[in-house]
């Protein structure tokens, strides 16, 4: 009977976990993420060698670490993606609380590794960046609150989640870490948009942003210089951006050849923020377009699957996770091609970094859990004559 309804998946009583998971998970997204991770390892073979040499390790020290962390991240992703949405929500809320407390404890117990911003806990063999784990947790909590606000006589979840977002942004801005802060704000904004932000408010906000930007441009010389520098088509070839741009040009369509690139020797962040430049130089436009396509597939496919979702919580949480994942990749690559002003942001799964890898694995695991095919209750509605 249920097979008669398009898009509905039969629930089989007592089905084993793994076959059920394999049957319902979004295999496209899963494959894309695995390929991205593979590309990350491949690029790490080129990009992290100079850093390893500088720090006196073996040439592939960082590649090995990346593989170990990546393995852990993939396991975390698989386990998370097998959970039910309710379980994901419960664990995510607990994780969020833990990460939030850890974030508040940073000024007292954290370390800055000499980089000027206190963002990490040092564990000796590795370091943990709580804000990376906070992001997916926050998305789930905010989605929960917003979904609750859609109940009659429910709590004012949208306002509550905004307050929470503001507190986190404040904490992150104090570190300072404006990149993560803006990601949190962006994630909240996307969820609020999907949860039904009034059109008038959106238009008003857009207008305010334009006004504030104009005002800042006219009144702050520092701000104006940064924008001018960004808009200026000529870029000083001695800056990071200049090196990155040159690398992309050097690479052309098919690259200069594996291991032949020069940019990794000049850029201190070649293995994290500017890994796309290394990819462009050594493997050319072909690989870069592949990477872009992989991210696009993950994001767009998740969105399309969430369109069919009827549970507001799952819809919102899935949207937030996919958007955050996608926009992080977008900002990273946008900076390298000078479409966006310079901002340090890692390329999810491709850039080197333990915390960001594992947290990314958990986040994508959640996304996979939310986008799994599940009964949408459509059959009831059809019986009641309200289905579509």
């Amino acid at each position: 009977m249920t097979e008669m309804v398009y898009g509905a998946v039969p629930v089989r009583e007592g089905e084993p976990v793994l076959p059920k998971w394999w049957r319902t998970v979004d295999k496209w997204t899963l494959s894309c993420v695995l390929i991205l991770f593979g590309i990350g390892l491949l690029l790490g073979l080129a990009a992290s060698v100079p850093l390893a040499e500088k720090n006196g390790f073996g040439a592939f020290h960082y590649v090995t670490r990346q593989a170990v962390f990546g393995g852990a991240a993939l396991i975390a992703m698989l386990i998370t993606s097998m959970m039910s949405p309710d379980l994901v929500r419960r664990l995510a809320v607990l994780g969020f609380l833990a990460a939030f407390i850890a974030l508040m404890g940073l000024p007292f117990f954290g370390t800055d590794f000499g980089k000027g911003a206190v963002r990490w806990y040092s564990l000796g063999f590795a370091s943990i960046q709580p804000s990376e784990f906070l992001k997916p947790g926050f998305i789930v909590v905010a989605a929960w609150m917003m979904a609750a606000s859609q109940e009659i006589n429910g709590p004012p979840g949208k306002s509550l989640s905004l307050v929470l977002a503001a507190i986190i942004v404040l904490l992150l801005a104090l570190q300072p870490d404006f990149g993560q802060a803006s990601l949190i704000l962006f994630g909240w904004g996307v969820m609020y948009f999907v949860a039904g932000a009034p059109m008038l408010l959106l238009a008003g906000l857009a207008g305010m942003v334009v006004l504030a930007g104009t005002f800042a441009y006219n009144s702050s010389e520092h701000f104006a210089r940064r924008i001018d520098g960004f808009l200026n088509p000529e870029v000083d070839p001695r800056t990071q951006l200049g090196f990155a741009e040159n690398a992309i040009r050097e690479g052309g369509f098919f690259g200069v050849g594996i291991g032949e690139g020069q940019v990794k020797w000049s850029l201190p962040d070649a293995h994290t923020d500017f890994i796309i430049a290394v990819a462009a130089e050594e493997y050319g436009l072909v690989l870069v377009l592949c990477i872009i396509a992989l991210y696009a597939i993950v994001v767009v496919r998740s969105m399309l699957r969430l369109i069919r979702e009827r549970d507001p919580f799952i819809r919102l949480a899935g949207t937030g996770l996919a958007a955050m994942f996608g926009v992080q990749a977008m900002i990273n690559m946008g900076v390298a091609v000078r479409l966006l002003p310079a901002k340090g942001m890692t390329l999810p799964f491709v850039s080197y970094g333990g915390s960001s890898l594992i947290a990314g694995g958990i986040a994508v695991g959640m996304l996979l859990a939310f986008t799994r095919v599940r009964p949408q209750g459509g059959i009831d509605e059809i019986f009641r004559g309200r289905g579509r």
Partner: protein, 594 residues
């Protein structure tokens, strides 16, 4: 506490009336509303998710396209020789009036380093110091071994130096193509050309901008790509300029002057054929502006245009010409010159005592200050001011070099009668030699205003008339007589009928008053006097020469011989035929065969 009304009130009231429990009805209603709300939210979310998906897709597409565009373009850094071809002549050449090159560009290279790519920084630094002895080994080593990623080493290097650096063979040393300005004639016409420097600098090119002279004034023209590298043609004549500089330099040394200037101008067109200011400099290696000492002692100072001096008796001809133009006198009118002429506490004297009275012609020929002052009294302050203004002596010289903007004449703050009298013989007014040449050109060309120019002109200027043809002719006759019978007797050049007027003005002290033993000696000449083609002004700063057992400073002994030698050299180069009377054909009898 806000009270929410029971909904739907009608059915609940009805149920209450029947004694049934209304809660079930309200719950049923709540559920219906909830479902309706959820359906609405879902429909809206579907649309918005679609919008989000499309937006993300578009953003990724834009990044992909941008990547493609960038990958398709050439790298900025010159790794291959191919990129050198893109830098063609950015700046137009400058030529003289016959098309000979005064300024052009050559391609060269800059040298920079990427220390992070350097293999042996120490060895590189050592080798570089051998090639460029002005570099410091310590500094280079520090730059190469530190954290810097980019170091400029040299802005311009020669091909030999480039090869030597290339032979070091380190991948961290890189060359960028450069276009540099070259003045192939060295010091020749240095003050006119000015000089250049690099403006905005990139790795693969640098802006060449003019900093002085015509390079600065015509900077926009020279850099305008729309002109397609059309050369800027000046009025200068390279050969004449070279001869003039040579003669003036010799004259300056012989007369022990500390500086000298000369201007040679075409009287019809106002074209400056040669302008010299000594001491000079090499624009290929333009010295830095001096930070101490008087600015006019610097070789950068253009005495012919920037230097405003009291040019003395050379002004007398203007006074005489104006008096004739107004019909107050004619050349043979006799003027009382008994002296000293007292005016208030001032006394005007002559260099020698010339007797009781002189004709106007003789006043000019003998250079009588008293006689000229008397003429000026007849003319009056207002008319004198107008006349000098019409000659262009009261405003900046409009010649096309940037330094001309500093050539504002120094005028008396209050043009009183005593000022009128001193100005009539060239004291109390300071102008540049360029001003004086233009004013003499008016006398020489028959009385029309001449605007000096450094650009080649197509034909004569027809400026406004300042004096009548007859007056101009009479004035020229006087100038000729100054050479034949007067103070400028050394100025005679056989065949070229030189006419002119000398001027020796005591130099003013910086704090007021005049030096007794320092003069500016000027000779303003026209040639040939019967039909003048050119005006030549020669000025010597503090000349001093020993002649006939006396120290001589006056222009007749200093500036005039230098000017005569210059005319002697330059006139044939200008294509003027000497008009020599045929000598006696001694001992030859012309016979006819029939």
């Amino acid at each position: 506490m806000t009270r929410t009304p029971l909904r739907p009130l009608a059915r609940i009231l009805e149920a209450r009336a029947k004694g049934e429990n209304p809660d079930a009805i309200e719950r049923e209603n709540t559920r219906a509303r909830h479902e309706e709300m959820r359906d609405g939210a879902r429909a809206r979310a579907e649309g918005r998710l679609l919008v989000l998906g499309v937006m993300f897709f578009c953003a990724y597409a834009v990044i992909g396209v941008r990547m493609g565009l960038m990958a398709n373009s050439d790298p900025v850094e010159p790794r291959a020789a191919a990129s050198a071809a893109r830098i063609v002549a950015q700046r137009a050449d400058i030529t003289d009036r016959r098309g000979r090159v005064l300024a052009t560009n050559i391609e060269t290279h800059s040298l920079y380093a990427h220390p992070q790519q350097m293999i042996e920084p120490e060895r590189v630094a050592e080798a570089l110091v051998k090639i460029f002895p002005d570099l410091e080994f310590k500094r280079l080593t520090k730059d190469f071994t530190g954290k810097r990623k980019f170091v400029w080493i040299k802005k311009k290097i020669s091909p030999e130096q480039k090869q030597a650096v290339f032979d070091i063979g380190d991948p961290g040393l890189l060359f960028g193509p450069r276009e540099m300005r070259l003045y192939p004639n060295g010091k020749l016409a240095a003050h006119v050309l000015g000089g250049y420097s690099f403006g905005k600098e990139g790795v693969d090119a640098a802006e060449v901008i003019g900093v002085a002279g015509v390079e600065r004034v015509f900077d926009d023209f020279l850099r305008d790509p729309a002109e397609e590298g059309k050369p800027l043609q000046l009025s200068l004549d390279l050969t004449v300029q070279a001869a003039a500089e040579q003669v003036l330099f010799g004259g300056m040394k012989l007369m022990n002057a500390k500086g000298a200037a000369s201007v040679l101008m075409d009287v019809q067109t106002g074209e400056v054929l040669s302008v010299v200011s000594l001491p000079d400099f090499d624009p290929n290696d333009r010295p830095r502006p001096p930070t101490e000492g008087a600015p006019d002692d610097s070789p950068l100072f253009n005495r012919a245009v920037q230097g405003v001096y009291e040019l003395g008796s050379t002004f007398k001809i203007f006074t005489a010409a104006q008096a004739m133009e107004l019909g107050l006198v004619n050349p043979s009118t006799v003027i009382d010159i008994r002296g000293p002429l007292k005016w208030g506490k001032h006394r005007i004297r002559d260099f020698h005592n010339y007797g009781k009275e002189l004709s106007v012609t003789d006043i000019i020929v003998k250079s009588s200050n008293i006689g000229t002052a008397r003429l000026a009294q007849m003319v009056g302050a207002k008319r004198q001011q107008e006349f000098l203004g019409a000659l262009g002596l009261l405003e900046k010289a409009p010649v096309e070099i940037i330094e001309a903007r500093g050539s504002t004449p120094l005028l008396p703050p209050n043009w009183s009668e005593i000022s009128t009298m001193t100005i009539s013989y060239g004291h109390g007014i300071s102008v540049s030699p360029m001003h004086l040449a233009a004013a003499y050109a008016t006398v020489a060309n028959g009385g029309t205003r001449v605007v000096p120019t450094l650009l080649k002109q197509a034909g004569p200027q027809y400026g406004e008339r300042v004096m009548s043809r007859q007056v101009a002719a009479a004035a020229r006759e006087m100038l000729r007589k100054v050479v034949t019978d007067g103070t400028a007797s050394f100025g005679e050049v056989p065949g070229y009928a030189v006419g002119g007027k000398t001027g020796s003005a005591d130099k003013p002290k910086p704090r007021g008053g005049y030096y007794k033993d320092k003069v500016i000696a000027t000779f303003a000449s026209v040639f040939p006097a019967h039909d003048p083609k050119y005006v030549l002004v020669v000025t010597l700063d503090e000349p001093e020469t020993l002649a006939l057992g006396e120290v001589r400073r006056t222009a007749g002994w200093t500036a005039v011989p230098v000017a005569a030698e210059m005319i002697n050299r330059v006139a044939p180069l200008l294509g003027l035929r000497p008009q020599v009377e045929p000598g006696q054909l001694a001992g030859i009898t012309l016979t006819s065969s029939n």
